[in-house]
């Protein structure tokens, strides 16, 4: 206990002097994610991957011999008061250089202005781009809906030409709403008007009535605005209600591996842009998948890949701002980052001027329960 408080005193002293001791320094990354509560299915794999990434980086002396990354990982229970408290603690007590933030869009929008007071960069999973406007300290790991969905919409217009398109999306999640607009907008502009538009709640599991209604409209294509397991479940119920097995499905990067696992045979013919492709032969992806499987006894999902990637970005930013990294320097390094190694998309993460990054998500299609590049 005394050792810890001594260390803390040392760190505080370091912060007061504006720099850390040069030899054998510890650089802190704080992870604030929902490890319990309804969003734990995102937070837990992310936090696992973050822990793994930090251990790997330290084992390989990523920041130079003697230097190490210290990870402070906390559970925010998807609760506003706790996120606010934990961010304040990360900035003022742990003296973290950067925070790895959560997935809940609404909460990220709510806490972004706080970053201005705390002057600490936070890179988050949430789909929404709205917090970017509220604070220059807020950063996104994943690309925006528009960016991910635009190539998919173009593909649909050029190749699929859906005549009877139905759209279903979660009305209580702004990510789903934005994605739907980004997809349906360009199609409607080209004259592909939807024949049915239905909304669901992200907690829904029973789509019996909805499926029957959609089946009666006989769609040839369906837009799925839902998360992985829910989207798969929706497709299964649509097909059970009599929607043609040849129907073309469209979805977003959020689908990922769980979608294929839960959906099985039903999700053939799904076109989606993908954040994490578990079939990638990129050496970093292969190593990541093997290590994750070994350590946590389950294959990594989309969220694990996001968590791993954001740690890589944060660590690289710290390295880029050596010696004597400060929060400003770390933020600056991320703003200038080009081609950082990640396990998302094509494997290279590049920040852009509008702070919406790019990593080349491709349009994929599901064949025999595997995502393959769409021709």
């Amino acid at each position: 206990m005394r050792g810890i408080s001594k260390l803390r005193g040392l760190l505080l002293a370091g912060a007061v002097l504006g720099s850390f001791p040069v030899a054998a320094a510890e650089y802190t990354i704080a992870s604030v994610k929902a490890l319990t509560g309804p969003l734990a299915f995102v937070g837990v794999p992310e936090a696992n991957a973050v822990k793994m990434a930090v251990d790997e980086l330290n084992a390989s002396n990523y920041l130079g011999a003697g230097n190490s990354i210290k990870l402070v990982s906390n559970d925010d229970q998807n609760d506003r008061a706790q996120i606010t408290t934990l961010l304040t603690r990360a900035a003022k007590v742990d003296n973290a250089l950067i925070v790895l933030g959560g997935a809940n869009s609404v909460l990220m929008i709510a806490v972004a202005p706080l970053l201005n007071d705390l002057q600490i960069p936070m890179i988050s999973t949430a789909q929404t781009a709205a917090p970017l406007a509220a604070s220059k300290w807020y950063l996104k790991v994943t690309a925006s809906s528009e960016l991910q969905v635009a190539p998919l919409a173009q593909y649909a217009i050029d190749k699929i030409k859906p005549q009877r398109l139905a759209a279903i999306w979660g009305r209580d999640n702004d990510g789903h709403i934005n994605n739907m607009k980004a997809f349906m907008g360009p199609l409607a502009a080209k004259g592909f008007k939807p024949i049915a538009e239905e909304t669901i709640l992200i907690s829904d599991t029973d789509f019996g009535a909805l499926s029957t209604k959609i089946a009666a409209a006989k769609p040839d294509a369906v837009w799925l605005g839902a998360n992985a397991a829910q989207a798969a479940n929706l497709v299964i119920q649509l097909k059970q209600a009599g929607v043609s097995s040849n129907v073309v499905l469209f979805g977003t990067a959020g689908l990922g591996v769980d979608y294929l696992k839960v959906g099985g045979k039903a999700v053939e013919n799904t076109y989606f842009s993908i954040d994490y492709n578990d079939q990638s032969t990129n050496p970093m992806n292969v190593r990541f998948a093997q290590n994750y499987q070994k350590r946590f006894n389950t294959p990594p999902d989309n969220w694990a890949a996001v968590g791993y990637s954001e740690t890589m970005i944060a660590a690289r930013a710290i390295k880029d701002s050596m010696p004597n990294p400060t929060r400003e320097k770390v933020l600056d390094a991320i703003m200038k980052m080009k081609g950082a190694d990640v396990v998302l998309g094509g494997g290279k993460w590049t920040q852009k001027a509008d702070r919406i990054p790019e990593y080349g998500p491709a349009v994929m299609v599901v064949r025999n329960n595997k995502p393959v590049p769409a021709q």
């Binding site: 299915f41 009305r171 599991t205 009535a209 479940n233 059970q240 209600a241 099985g264």
Partner: protein
């Protein structure tokens, strides 16, 4: 399409009824709002899932889930309700302790599932459809309806035709008088909570099978629906809960089909509000058995 929606509604409604029945049984007998019922429901789905995953046939998984969630429900009673029964504060205290119990169950569910959404393996249940004119039935829907009907009849028989049922009702009327008459209240508590939990467990499996999703948060939405069902049917009324469950299922399906889906919730709760004001004893409750309604 309307015939199809009616069929869908009856099937989902019957599962609502099953869930709400256990809830209303405990409320009707002991005046406890058991919020941990959601957790017990989830436990049933989990037990069934792990049983099937370990190679047991579905019927055996169902039986195990019934017994397991029945016992869990009784553990909730011991940990959360038996402890405060003597204090005279059970009406309010039970809310807190059942929220606590529910947190514990959800936390266990989260650990077991590793926060993931689980689903029964694809071959657990044959996917077969029968078509009668415009209406499609799945084999699963038929089985669900059958199981629910059998369970309901068994429960009605147990509650109204056996001495156990009379004992439950005696204790619910007045525990002290009942025990003077030789009824063992401990046994009555055990049976009531066990039955309530077992019903919730079956409902959990049914929901898990038909909607492909078993996860540690699955109980919450059903809890809110149970409130609606229980009030519409009349608090504590068993057959009221059954009919109200069916009605809610049908109404929900028709609302999705013919109304803007974003307004479904508003309409359901609006309806609940109106029913409460017009006929607080519920659509099927008799005025006589009510507790605490309008004393003027």
């Amino acid at each position: 399409m309307i015939a199809q929606q009616l069929v869908n509604g009856i099937v989902t409604g019957s599962v609502y009824a099953l869930f709400a029945l256990g809830f209303t049984l405990i409320f009707g007998t002991f005046k406890i709002l058991n919020l941990a019922h959601a957790g017990v429901f989830m436990s049933g789905a989990f037990i069934g899932y792990f049983a099937v995953l370990n190679g047991l046939p579905l019927w055996l998984a169902l039986v195990l889930a019934m017994i397991g969630s029945g016992l869990i429900s009784y553990i909730v009673e011991l940990g959360a309700f038996a402890t405060i029964r003597g204090s005279g504060q059970i009406e309010f205290g039970a809310l807190i302790s059942s929220i606590g119990a529910n947190l514990c169950l959800m936390s266990l569910g989260q650990r077991l599932s590793n926060t993931k959404v689980l689903r029964f393996p694809f071959e657990t249940f044959p996917v077969e459809f029968y078509e009668f004119g415009p209406v499609r039935f799945s084999f699963l829907q038929v089985i669900i309806l059958l199981v629910v009907v059998v369970l309901l009849m068994a429960m009605m028989f147990y509650l109204y035709k056996t001495s156990f049922g009379r004992q439950i009702r005696a204790v619910s009327g007045n525990e002290r008088v009942a025990s003077l008459l030789g009824v063992n209240p401990g046994l009555v508590y055990f049976q009531t909570f066990f039955i309530s939990g077992a019903l919730a467990g079956v409902a959990g499996i049914m929901i898990g099978l038909s909607f492909n999703s078993i996860h540690f948060y699955m109980g919450e939405p059903y809890l809110l629906k149970a409130f609606v069902v229980v009030v519409l049917g009349g608090l504590g009324s068993v057959h009221g809960a059954v009919v109200a469950g069916m009605l809610l299922g049908i109404f929900q399906n028709l609302a999705v089909a013919y109304l803007p889906s974003a307004l479904t919730e508003t309409i359901i709760y609006g309806l609940l509000f109106v029913v409460l004001l017009v006929k607080p004893s519920g659509l099927f409750g008799s005025e006589g058995v009510q507790v605490g309604v309008a004393r003027r």
